[in-house]
Amino acid sequence: MATKTILQSINEALDQMMEQDPSVVVYGEDVGFEGGVFRTTAGLQKKYGEKRVFDTPISEAAIVGSAVGMSINGMKPIVEMQFSGFSLPAYNQIVTHVARFRNRSRGKYHLPLVIRMPYGGGVKALEHHSESLETLYAHIPGLKLVIPSTPYDAKGLLIAAINDPDPVIFMEPKRIYRAFKQEVPDEIYEVPIGKARMVKKGKDLTIIAWGALVREVEKALELKPEIDAEVIDLRTISPIDFETIIASVKKTGRVLIVHEAVKSFGPAAELIAIINEKAFVYLEAAPRRLTGFDITVPLPKGEPYFIITPEQIAYEMQKLVDFKA
């Protein structure tokens, strides 16, 4: 076992799955020769050849649409959208076909494909390179949406996504691609889709986060050592693991949801609705959500206003534990 970054874990998962299964193909814009703009696919073309790892035209609809056809004809395509903000030309394919083929054909065809896309802000990028579009995908029946926050989960979840018989949108928190290392097993393993991760047990309140913000929550805990928070890394946005969430909220009675996606109609809205439906009488305070503002992610000079900090999370934690009905 060695320590690896999220980026290395993703690369290793792709490498090992390609080695194990000749039906796995990897493609997208610049993923072949160059190894992707973030280098997540580095070395794969050299190892597996230009037929299984290839560069495509700048045609997101063709990238995803062809993945539909490849799946039908026995392949397991793993395609990359260079940034989630540029997945929108493929949105028609994803919503009208990827999500529906199993149902449309009453199970004759299913699409075991994976659509990877780096997402989220905090990397001082140009417009369209910082979005968090979870809602656009989690809202669509037939899709699964997975977001890792650690190198261990990145590898195990990606392998689970590739093995999953249903199509999976795999969002990668690009801000922490190289931010830290963790012990990651060298062999193939799965982290189950649809199961949240208990980051830390606690009794005062429940904090739910995912992706790059899990680390920001952990930093916030250090700022508030007097608060004993339970932290859940959701990991799969769809389907939601409501058992873990509800068990936690029943215990703490207070919940804070932290996400970078914009607020209105965002994932927190759904989570709070579920909590109200299933744990209303256990609540000791109104659930709170700390999210991106309902604005376009600002360019780097204004982006700090948008990015959620550990200090801001700590502030919200305090508000929530101080609340008295």
Binding site: A62, G65, S66, S105, F242
Partner: protein
């Protein structure tokens, strides 16, 4: 090479039989065995018969909105006859005759238009993708199917249909460029039936022919008389041979005409003259094929009367059967969103069952 002889920029169109079914291009007349020729013709007659009945069923409120194929039978059956069983058919939604030829049953086709997804679950060995409603998007499915065939080095191609209207869609460009880039074994048939719902092709496409779009993609393209089943057969047969040899995709424009409405929700009298329709009725593909077969002593008027009677009865019986068995169970509408029900879906299904039970409702449908 066939495709070099017909320059799409000059509007040169491949035709083998004239509008009476007489061979006008001897040296190109394909050698098709009797069994195949008869299958082509019978499929066209079945398609036409079922189409006409479907329009009636729809008017009687027994079927959903329906998109008839009348007049376009040759553009669909000619290509299918030139393919092999292992080839893939990727549909838009006006390819009823192609579906029937390729092994979709009449019952399945009707079940779909009756409003039941089970109609899109074709038999396991039938390599046909379900009807694809979002215009143009199917082209990219064909590229993926073809890419996989090529990667596996199999003797198979993907044939994809699109309308003249569909060529205006961005996905048409993405798909054609993608297929051309990797020399994919793909054949694109544009059924140019002259109308995108009410909008005539010449009002929304400046190009002289649709086949000439192939030139920009660096591939072969040819304009074919789409009401000539032999010409369509030959074009696809040639395209298939080239695809398997690694020469990449071919773009075939089938020049045809939609005799009926876009769908049963459309009234073409609002936007076109009857005289225009009458001109095209003279080019009816079924009449041409029938005359050709009779000329070859493979068919007769007597057999034709019998066939029509037999198929009419088959269509009526099949539709009756669909009406009797085409209902959908509650579980079925939940079962195919994912491989297994998610906890969320399980909860929603159980909720609905409880509601039905609590209110004493036997059948939620």
């Amino acid at each position: 090479m066939l495709f070099d002889e017909y320059n799409p920029l000059k509007g040169e169109m491949l035709q083998i039989m004239d509008q009476e079914g007489k061979i006008v291009n001897d040296k190109l007349e394909p050698k098709i065995d009797k069994e195949t020729l008869l299958k082509m013709y019978k499929t066209m007659v079945l398609g036409r018969t079922a189409d006409e009945k479907a329009l009636q069923f729809q008017r009687q409120g027994r079927m959903l909105t329906y998109a008839p194929n009348i007049g376009q039978e040759a553009a669909q059956v000619g290509p299918m006859a030139a393919l092999k069983d292992q080839d893939w058919l990727v549909l838009a939604f006006r390819e009823f005759n192609a579906m029937l030829y390729k092994g979709v049953t009449l019952e399945q086709a009707f079940l779909y238009w009756y409003g039941n997804e089970r109609g899109s679950r074709y038999d396991d060995e039938v390599r046909v993708l379900p009807i694809n409603v979002p215009i143009g998007s199917q082209i990219n499915h064909a590229t993926g199917v073809a890419y996989a065939s090529k990667l596996k080095e199999l003797d198979e191609v993907a044939i994809v249909f699109i309308g003249d209207g569909g060529t205006s869609h961005g996905e048409f460009h993405e798909g054609m460029n993608f297929a051309a880039t990797y020399d994919l074994p793909m054949i694109t048939i544009i059924q140019n039936n002259q109308y995108a719902i009410s909008t005539p092709r010449h009002k929304v496409i400046k190009a002289k022919t649709l086949a000439q779009k192939a030139i920009a993609y660096g591939i072969s393209g040819i304009q074919v008389d789409g009401n000539d089943p032999l010409a369509m057969y030959l074009a696809v047969k040639t395209a298939r041979e080239r695809a398997i040899k690694g020469y990449g995709p071919t773009l075939i424009e089938a020049v045809t005409y939609r005799i009926g409405p876009h769908t049963t929700s459309d009234n073409p009298k609002l936007y076109r003259e009857d005289t225009e329709v009458e001109e095209w009725l003279k080019k009816d593909p079924i009449k041409r094929m029938k005359n050709y077969l009779i000329g070859k002593k493979l068919w007769s008027e007597e057999k034709d009367v019998e066939l029509h009677e037999e198929l009419k009865q088959l269509v009526l019986d099949t539709f009756k059967h669909v009406e009797e068995t085409g209902e959908v169970e509650l579980n079925e509408v939940f079962d195919y969103t994912y491989e297994k029900l998610t906890p969320n879906l399980e909860e929603q299904l159980n909720y609905y069952k409880e509601y039905l039970k609590a209110e004493g409702i036997k059948d939620g449908n």
